[in-house]
């Protein structure tokens, strides 16, 4: 299966391990992720003001380029997926806005491209049951808290990937890899997102609540599909430890890193050494590479 693939900026810089492990896992499963030959930043936020059309130019360009090469576009990063999918829907449904943006870009985007998340391909194209059969190394005994965050699921009417109140897709994926998935009430609470840039104490508080809840549920690792969530949850743990005596650190992994391990693929490029809280100790303890 060949799919056009949009890595996005973060996966090309700060989250290279996410990209490398995702691409390698997909390849092992027969999904050929072909990087868009021309791409730019997705815009990184979907504009909240309805007349802020300029903010839609960047994602529209990505979609336009994709349309020239295929009809699907796969993203790994929750934010890229969110922005591209919502922009695409808006362009499909609001003809006047589409026309204005097309005029600005001096090109014609029709809205035909379908934006997908890799999780969707794994669930709908491969199937978690079939995926389970491809697993080389079951992640037996690894207790994980699947963390969805906001942008992967909301707004449901536009994203529609999974139930935003009780999502299953990451839970089911991790279960198919052999993990022990813990029930985790904060699985779709916000981590603070971009507040990391200016009011980092808010991010720290929100992320702390999420990690505390994961730890209380018995998890020994948190798993996400969003580089910004990963950053907030992982890199703030130093501050958290300083702020909350007795706080136990907990590794925060990308789902693709665990997927790759389960599929028996190993590579330094998967970035396990780059995390603030090193997950390798835990993995070794569980008999994993």
């Amino acid at each position: 299966m060949r799919y056009l693939y949009f890595p996005g900026c973060t996966l090309s810089t700060k989250a290279k391990g996410f990209a490398a492990s995702g691409e390698a896992s997909a390849r092992a499963l027969g999904i050929d992720l072909v990087e868009l030959s021309r791409w730019n930043c997705c815009g990184a936020t979907f504009p909240l003001a309805t007349d802020n059309l300029l903010a839609l130019v960047a994602p529209t360009r990505v979609l336009l380029n994709a349309e020239k090469e295929g009809d699907h576009l796969v993203a790994l990063c929750s934010i890229c997926y969110h922005v591209l999918k919502r922009t695409n829907m808006l362009l499909r449904e609001e003809g006047d806005k589409r026309e204005k943006i097309n005029l600005f870009l001096e090109e014609e985007y029709s809205g035909e491209v379908e934006v997908l998340h890799l999780l969707e391909l794994l669930r709908d194209e491969i199937g978690f049951e079939a995926l389970g059969e491809r697993v080389q190394k079951r992640l037996q005994g690894l207790r994980v808290a699947p963390y969805y965050g906001c942008l992967l699921l909301r707004p449901f009417q536009e994203i529609g990937l999974d139930d935003p109140e009780e999502p299953r897709i990451l839970d089911d994926l991790l279960a198919s890899l052999g993990c022990e998935v813990v029930e985790f009430p904060h699985k779709s609470e916000c981590c603070g997102s971009y507040l990391a840039m200016n009011t980092s104490e808010v991010t720290r508080e929100l992320s702390y609540a999420i990690l505390r809840s994961a730890l209380a549920s018995g998890a020994e690792a948190v798993v996400t599909s969003c580089p910004l969530c990963q950053f907030n949850l992982d890199y703030r743990q130093g501050e958290m430890a300083a702020h909350y005596p007795g706080f136990t650190q907990i590794p925060v992994l990308y789902f693709t890193q665990l997927l790759a391990i389960a599929l028996g693929i190993e590579s330094e490029a998967f970035g396990l050494a780059d995390h603030y809280v090193d997950p390798r100790l835990l993995l070794v303890r569980r008999g994993l590479p």
Partner: protein, 434 residues
Amino acid sequence: MSKRRAMVIGGGISGIQAALDIANSGYEVVLVERLPSIGGHMAQLSETFPTLDCSQCILTPRTVEVGHHEKIRLATYSEVEEVRGDFGDFKVKVRRKPAYVDWERCTGCGLCQEKCPWRVASDFERGLGKRKVIYTLSPQAVPNKPVIDREHCVYFQKESRCGACAKFCPVEAIDFQQEEEVWEEEVGAIVVATGYDLYPMERLREYGGGRYPNVIDSLQFERLLSASGPTGGEIRRPSDGAVPKEVVFVQCAGSREPERGVAYCSQICCMYTAKQALLYKHKVHDGQAYVFYIDIRAGGKGYEEFVQRAMEEGVLYLQGKVAKIFPQDGKAMVWGADSLSGKRVEIAADLVVLATAILPSQGTGDLREKLGIKIDESGFYEEAHPQLRPVESGVPGIYLAGAGQGPKDIPEAVAQGSAAAAKVVALLAREVSP
């Protein structure tokens, strides 16, 4: 008028009122009820607002009157199968499920229920209590005749082992061979009073109803309050039987929420929540009750005063929605907003009661097709004119009563039952067909 008799479909308080009014005017009535006995949801309630009358106590005289009325033929455990004909001359096929008990012989002594060794979760108790496999809905059931739940009966499921009820029945009324019965009634007019169900709390995923035992719906709380309920009227939470000291009531759970629930206001929740919170305070003196609300809609006689009384007696009202409920350290954590102080509120509750939206009862869509009447966009029966013909369906001779036409409380359901009966009587009394 060719057939001077009527049918009422639905044996809740509205249907009961309609049936009694028609029968007391001298016309025969067939009252069809899906369940083994009549009384509807009112039989499940503890006390009624705003007077705090005991629901069973004011209902039972009515159900008993229906049971004894010489003009009322009670067809319980029965459903309407097919409707043909026109006003003045409807032919209605009724199907009665097998009770596996010969109700002619049965004296209602209750020995079979006592001796039956098998228990299953009771729908009447909303899953909070158990009932025997041969059962009546309540000790005050009318008719006071039991039915056997075939699906859970060991006699049926395990090749004739057991049969305890048959062995002990002093009048040999148990009839495992009983079959369903189908017959036709000829009536001149029909009252449709099929009532409501609650919006399934499982669908409100962020509240965790159905997943967390201490998140319950309002009818479950009625059963906890009720002296005849599974806890004998003591407030005990489902998870461990402890008396909850912090109880959060969530109004508009699914109501006024077009995106994920229903668009309309369910109309009765403000009042029954005030009642439930007040009764909770009466039973657990050192307990705290919180009510999250969007607006308080208490537009009825004595209603606003009743809500004020609940507030004065210490129920804490918080204007805002609840965002999420989840278990933490043995409590149900409730995240909500208090829009009046502009702050987020977090309450570690022992018990959460969801005032879930009122839906038309399950069979409404099905029955509508059989009757050829309309439903509105919310799924309730549509009246012929919203202002001037509130109890008529679009089909002559078919009238509407109770919560099947839209959410309503007991006084309104009774009023509409009487109104529908007046229409029926007026039709049946005509000398010549119009």
